[in-house]
């Protein structure tokens, strides 16, 4: 059994809890459906978003340079990082040069992907995630299990227990309002003490050099409004060409992510605030490899709304941690193999290819077709267990010869009828672990067709 399947099996062992997780995430999918139905031009917006992203990616280098020029003209510093390691060194260098000991961060999947937090903590910097869900998983020393709702795998009782131990709330308190209030007080002291604020970037506008950061808690805004130093980390794919493109993406993002008509805070940063410094770190980390591959290029259009996770019947029943990567679910299973195909070879197979992800995607990424394309790539690279390739070869040989197919079919039906249950349902039969095998008919259709007396 591959690693995802093993993790999923463990997750499903607690039936009540995994059912709760499935329902909690499905509830967000339903909110998304309702929000979508308030926008008659929804499908047109999706097409527009797809085309804007496709255009931006088709001349990404030009737009990145335009963005850099305009951001510099606004007074920002722009840094380029080829990979996670360079990104972490650059961020640490900026903090070190400014004598920063205490950093507050808003949610950034890129910095999760680069494992920035442990890098900085090892170098003596206090790093505090200020998004409530991120703070919860940080206190638990766990990675986020969802890109929009990092702590969706936890129940309020789990968080009550965590806060009792870590923040000193009374034991047994699990009222969300009380817990949020406790987190608010705890975070307030961190905000006030911070010497720098780090944010992710939702959209970087080439024509202005400005950035947009979307949060529901205002934690990005507060985190960069108090200290004088703002570091914004972005993947190269975050570029949109024009300011007016935001009108398409901001409408799609919040509705797809949480079913809100707009995120509570959509903060626009055009250069540093007076007296402050803004450093923008632009990261490749495998993205240009994807850009070079026509079959996978569209995955770079992702705006990290998480809708494909929420709709995915596999994600909902296996939990985000089962994927073992920062971005789980369908989009994560497309992105991860581009970084390390061998390590993440199982992920494109963690899908029934139902295609729901493709239909919810606000930028029309053909996710289930990309998962299928990755399966081909992974098989071609010889990264599948040998029994799979032997099985496929035998299948091809049998099915290429009609006489052989007929013979094997008859034998298989015979075996299904006569073999004792102990052999048919041995541990090797993964189908039979929790399902009955079909009851074999005496005659195939083709035999019955012939008996019907037709040519």
């Amino acid at each position: 059994m591959n690693e995802h399947a093993q993790n999923a099996t463990v997750f499903l062992r607690d039936e009540a809890r995994s059912a709760w997780h499935d329902n909690a995430v499905w509830w967000v999918r339903q909110k998304r459906d309702r929000a979508q139905h308030s926008v008659p031009e929804w499908e047109e917006l999706r097409s527009l978003a797809q085309r804007i992203k496709a255009h931006a990616l088709s001349r990404l280098a030009d737009y990145l340079e335009e963005f850099e020029r305009n951001a510099r003209a606004l007074g920002a510093h722009v840094h380029w990082a080829r990979n996670a390691d360079e990104h972490n060194r650059i961020v640490h260098g900026i903090l070190r040069d400014h004598g920063v000991q205490r950093l507050v961060k808003s949610k950034s999947m890129l910095t999760e992907e680069c494992h920035l937090n442990p890098y900085l903590i090892e170098r003596g910097i206090e790093v505090v995630d200020t998004d409530l869900g991120e703070r919860i998983v940080q206190l638990l020393r766990e990675p986020p299990s969802h890109i929009v709702m990092p702590a969706i795998h936890l129940k309020k009782e789990d968080i009550g227990e965590l806060f009792h131990v870590q923040l000193g709330t009374p034991k047994g308190v699990s009222d969300p309002k009380a817990l949020t209030e406790a987190a608010r007080h705890h975070l307030r002291s961190k905000f006030l003490a911070a010497q720098a604020g780090l944010t992710g970037v939702n959209f970087a506008i080439a024509e202005t050099g400005g950035l947009v950061v979307c949060t529901n808690e205002g934690n990005a805004d507060l985190g960069v409004a108090l200290p004088p130093l703002h570091i914004a980390c972005m993947g190269v794919e975050k570029i949109v060409p024009r300011q007016q493109d935001l009108g398409v993406f901001l409408r799609l993002l919040a509705r797809s992510a949480t079913g809100q008509s707009i995120t509570t805070y959509s903060a626009h940063f055009h250069g540093p605030r007076p007296g402050g410094e803004l450093h923008i770190v632009i990261v490749d980390h495998g993205r240009s490899k994807l850009l070079a591959r026509s079959e996978f290029r569209r995955s770079l259009s992702c705006i990290r709304c998480g809708a494909c996770l929420n709709t995915c019947p596999v994600y909902r029943r296996s939990g985000g941690h089962s994927y073992g990567v920062t971005v789980p679910g369908p989009i994560g299973s497309v992105l991860a193999p581009s970084i390390d195909a061998e390590k993440h070879a199982a992920l494109p197979f963690a899908s029934s290819l139902c295609g729901s992800c493709t239909d919810v995607c606000p930028v029309r990424i053909d996710l289930h077709h990309q998962l299928l394309a990755w399966r081909g790539e992974i098989a071609a690279q010889g990264l599948l267990p040998p029994d799979k390739s032997i099985g496929a070869r035998v299948g091809r040989i049998v099915l290429s010869h009609t006489w052989l197919y007929r013979m094997v079919g008859s034998l298989a039906r015979f075996a299904l009828r006569v073999l004792p249950r102990g052999i048919l349902y041995s541990r090797l039969n993964a189908w039979g672990l929790s399902r009955e095998l079909p009851v074999p008919p005496a005659k195939s259709f083709r035999a019955q067709w012939r008996a019907r007396g037709k040519p």
């Binding site: 596999v314 081909g376 091809r396 079919g409 067709w449």
Partner: protein, 245 residues
């Protein structure tokens, strides 16, 4: 009208009654049904496992067997989608001539013959929308998209007297079959199927119907293991039984 039957391999070997019902439904509508006996499998099991090279000869075989027919009909949305949507990746432009001529059964009855089902089938039946029929052939509008609501299968069945076709709270969630997914991710697959069955049980249905025997085989395997009284019936069998009544 001459119709060439494309009977998926597992239906041929394990569910011949579904293929027979397909023949009955087509013949009742005046079609001259032929069954090209050299056919085997569309190659989807290999292609979906990543083995395009092993699937390609089967796509080529499919073309050889079926290229001379104007209308090719299969009682399976998934296998039809394989030919229509995934053959181009295997055999390029040569797939083009076949793409417009291969139909899922309900699609063929609804779009080409325009011959809805008649007769009587007085039971409460759960409707399972198989994913590839729904999202790759667009047999219905689907819950994800904001497009005018349509449902070819329901439209086809609506005239059957006494039939109560029941929707589940999640109208088009996957049952978890997914081909080799059912083996590779057996725990998730089974759980998905049991969740679907649980939704149908809330409607107190006696049967679950759908366009794809593969999904029904998976659900049937779970129903039988759990000793549940619900049975599965392919939509071709349902129509054939209704029209024979």
């Amino acid at each position: 009208m001459e119709v060439a039957l494309f009977i998926p391999c597992y239906i041929d070997q394990l569910y011949p009654q579904v293929a027979m019902a397909t023949v009955e439904v087509l013949e009742r509508r005046g079609c001259k049904v032929v069954f090209p006996e050299d056919q085997t499998c569309c190659g989807q099991p290999m292609a979906n496992s990543g083995f395009q090279e092993e699937a390609r000869p089967l796509a080529e075989k499919f073309l050889r067997v079926f290229e001379k027919y104007e209308h090719v009909v299969a009682p399976s949305g998934s296998c039809v989608s394989m030919v229509r949507n995934h053959y181009p990746a295997l055999i390029g432009d040569r797939a083009d001539s076949m793409r417009g001529r291969v139909y899922e059964l309900c699609e063929f009855l609804h779009d080409v013959l325009k011959a809805p089902a008649r007769g009587r089938f007085a039971q409460k039946v759960g409707f399972h929308r198989s994913c590839h029929g729904l999202r790759e052939l667009r047999l219905g509008s689907g819950s994800e998209r904001f497009v005018p609501s349509q449902d070819k299968v329901r439209a086809l069945l609506v005239g059957i007297e006494g039939l109560e076709l029941c929707e589940t709270a999640r109208p088009d969630e996957c049952c978890g079959f997914g081909g080799t997914f059912a083996i590779d991710e057996a725990a998730i697959s089974s759980r998905m199927g049991r969740d679907r069955i649980g939704e149908h049980e809330k409607n107190a249905v006696s049967l679950i119907t759908g366009t794809d025997t593969s999904c029904l085989m998976h659900l049937e395997g779970l129903l039988r293991r759990d000793n549940k009284p619900i049975r599965v019936l392919h939509v071709a069998e349902l129509i054939a039984q209704a029209e024979a009544a």
